[in-house]
């Protein structure tokens, strides 16, 4: 695997954010530089309001994750940030459309970013989309 990994999360489906956080965690602690780009409906999963109310859109596995009290995707991202190189960016176009500010997003979000900047990050990186 290359030493750079870019993950794009576009879906609001909880399980997709969850698997992204799992892959990102293991990669980040294995010396891979990981960048996450959160866009489209996935931005709702990174809103403080959604996280506080656990108001996620999920399927059967999401129900099991809650029931078994497994770590949530934002907890996995948080842990990965403490242990390795991981940055989380939110699409500035979606933030404009939803009229949200950085303080509306959970603290693990590093910054907002436009596509040109994220394309620069993706350059030479392995890319996965959820």
């Amino acid at each position: 695997m290359s030493d750079k990994l870019a993950i794009i999360i576009a879906s609001e489906e909880y399980e997709k954010s969850h698997v992204a956080s799992m892959i990102a965690s293991v990669a980040a602690v294995s010396g891979v530089e990981v960048s996450i780009f959160v866009t489209m409906n996935a931005v709702y999963n990174f809103l403080k309001e959604t996280v506080e109310k656990k108001n996620f859109t999920g399927g059967k596995l999401y129900e099991q994750i809650k029931e078994k009290k497994a770590s949530m995707f934002y907890e996995l991202f948080d842990q990965a940030k403490m242990l390795g190189g991981l940055k989380i960016y939110v699409c500035s176009m979606v933030m404009d459309i939803l009229n949200i500010e950085k303080e509306d997003l959970i603290d693990i979000v590093d910054d907002n970013l436009g596509l040109a900047a994220f394309l620069g990050i993706m350059d030479g990186a392995e890319t996965i989309t959820f």
Partner: protein
Amino acid sequence: MTEEELKQIKPTVTVDARGTYCPGPLMELIKEVRQQPVGSVIELISGDAGSAKDVPEWINKVKQEFLGVIPEDGYWRIFSKKVKDM
């Protein structure tokens, strides 16, 4: 190492990660590998079947030393040694 040899090992530290799901046990191990001095032997206890395969993969990737696994009833004891700073 054989299972007999592993059973003789006195780990520097034991991390019980039972009750956490993948990648929880691996992340718990990583925290400990970071904190302990070079030369430490770290025992990870995991109830997650994937850990016995995941841990050696990760240990090799970050160039530490994997010592072996003892399968127990419903959990795994996984031994690693920190051989360099990280």
